[in-house]
């Protein structure tokens, strides 16, 4: 890459940085202005981020698209019309273009960063930011408000003229809906004894078969065992070695004795 191309790239980078700086400063001023406004009307300051982001995006994009070498030429008059000509002829070689490039490189030494960032307009903007910040601190500390937007808004919501839906909602909540809660008479039952009557005609039970309890003797083929014991299948037996069985037995005896 030729020296002039590198130099032009550096200048372009500087231009981009200055535009980004300008966009951020402008957006911060918008943010602080909205912040102050929202303090006055008692709206949460978080909402001030929305205009900040919108402004940064819209104007930041616009500023970046408007980058031209002529903006540098305005700051450094010696480069007037030369810088953009050199930029347009990058890659083209002839003795006149080479001589122009040499002249431009010589004059580019007069470009200083302070020309882009230390301009009067930037200084004024930073001062405005300072004033707004100070105003915010004052207003917040003295709790100054012009009108309570939140309360006015709430009152508007309570006003039947403005929100008939709100009224309907309240009525609905108070009066209830039979469909949801069912029959009120059932709710009143509470702990009362309920006498339930069965409709024998319509039921499925056969009540004609109802009779008293009969005593039954279970004597046939049954011999009473003197001792009843249960056994388990061998598959349930533990395959524990005999010496270990002794250890377990002793262990449980000791626990029992200790207990």
């Amino acid at each position: 890459m030729k020296i002039i191309e590198n130099a032009l790239a550096e200048v372009r980078k500087l231009l981009i940085l200055s535009k980004v700086f300008k966009s951020v400063i402008d957006s911060l001023i918008v943010f602080l202005a909205f912040f102050l406004l929202f303090i006055f009307i008692k709206i949460s300051w978080y909402y001030a981020i929305i205009p900040f982001i919108l402004h940064l995006f819209i104007y930041g994009r616009k500023n970046l698209r408007s980058i031209r070498y002529s903006q540098v030429e305005k700051l450094v008059p010696e480069l007037n019309e030369k810088l953009r000509t050199a930029a347009d002829y990058v890659g083209r070689d002839n003795e006149v273009v080479d001589a122009l490039d040499a002249e431009v490189l010589k004059d580019m030494k007069k470009i200083r960063t302070s020309l882009f960032f230390g301009s009067k307009s930037n200084m004024n903007k930073i001062m405005v930011m300072g004033i707004l910040s100070f105003a915010i601190i004052l207003v917040a500390s003295f709790n100054v408000e012009l009108f309570d937007f939140a309360t006015i808004g709430k009152n508007r919501l309570d006003d039947e003229r403005f929100l008939p839906i709100q009224k309907n909602l309240d009525t609905f909540l108070k009066e209830g809906d039979d469909d949801i809660y069912g029959d009120e008479s059932i709710v009143e039952l509470g702990n009362n004894e309920v006498l339930i009557g069965l409709n024998t005609v319509e039921g499925n039970l056969d009540y004609s078969a109802k009779k008293d309890l009969e005593r039954k003797n279970f004597a046939s083929g049954y011999e009473e065992e003197k001792e009843i014991y249960a056994t388990s299948d061998s598959s349930y037996n533990d395959n524990i070695p005999k010496e270990n069985q002794e250890v377990v037995k002793k262990y449980f005896n000791q626990i029992t004795q200790a207990g």
Partner: protein, 310 residues
Amino acid sequence: MKLDEVPTYMDAVFNGMKKVVIGQDEVIKQIMTAMVVDAHALLEGYPGLAKTLIVKTMGQLLDLKFSRVQNTPDLMPSDILGTYLIEEGKSGRELKFQKGPVFANILLADEINRATPKTQSALLEAMQERQVTVGNETYKLDRPFFVLATMNPIEQEGTYPLPEAQTDRFLLKIKTDYPSFDEEMAIVDKYSEIFDDVQLKPVLKRNDIADLQNLARKIPIANDLKRYAVDLVTSTRKKKELIEYGASPRASIGLILAAKGRALIEGRKHVSKEDINKMAFPVLRHRIILSFEAERNNLSTDDVIKQLIK
């Protein structure tokens, strides 16, 4: 010639011109502009404004062969291009081509609007083709070759005005104006007293002029200035209330070339907006035809061009 030497040589040319011609600095600059871009120019002005003197002096300073043609209604094409003459040679009589005044480096065609259209066409063809065809023979014209044609704006009787299609071949239409009072006093002092024939030494050679022409084409122009120049020319086609017929794309090429030439003469390595604005007048004034509305309001072509320039 190197690029750095151009300002020195240009200063030498202008200083040499000042020894003979008093005033008319802008005219001299515009003629030089036409020369460095290898183009022809139309000089319009009242008689006695040093048009012939400027061109003759320039021929001396640039070491160029100068010839002059006084156009009259009876002038024939052969009077300009040349003709075959019978000459007695060693082997008997033979036809020999006698070159006309067009075979010069600088041709001053005085009062071109007095020549017949046929003669005008012969000259214009030579200007365009840089060669002359007589019979079956074609003769190339010497390089560099400039035609500076003059027109008298006051005598319209017995004239054959150049049609716009023909005037378009001239890059510039240079207007010569009356000198200022002080300049006229200096002219009177110089030319009414003892005649001092100034001998001028050539400052530039033919090779130098070829180098200048080469350098002029290499002068860079920024894209936005190029767009401005083309926009200026195209605006002549849009301003219908003042301009009946606007300039052609040839004018766009001419304007950019003329701006480059001017930049070179002024020692700059790039074209500036001022070059385009300054050269817009000589480039466009013979390429646009004013509407009746403009003429009714007594507007000149220069007034209209001034309105177009931003």
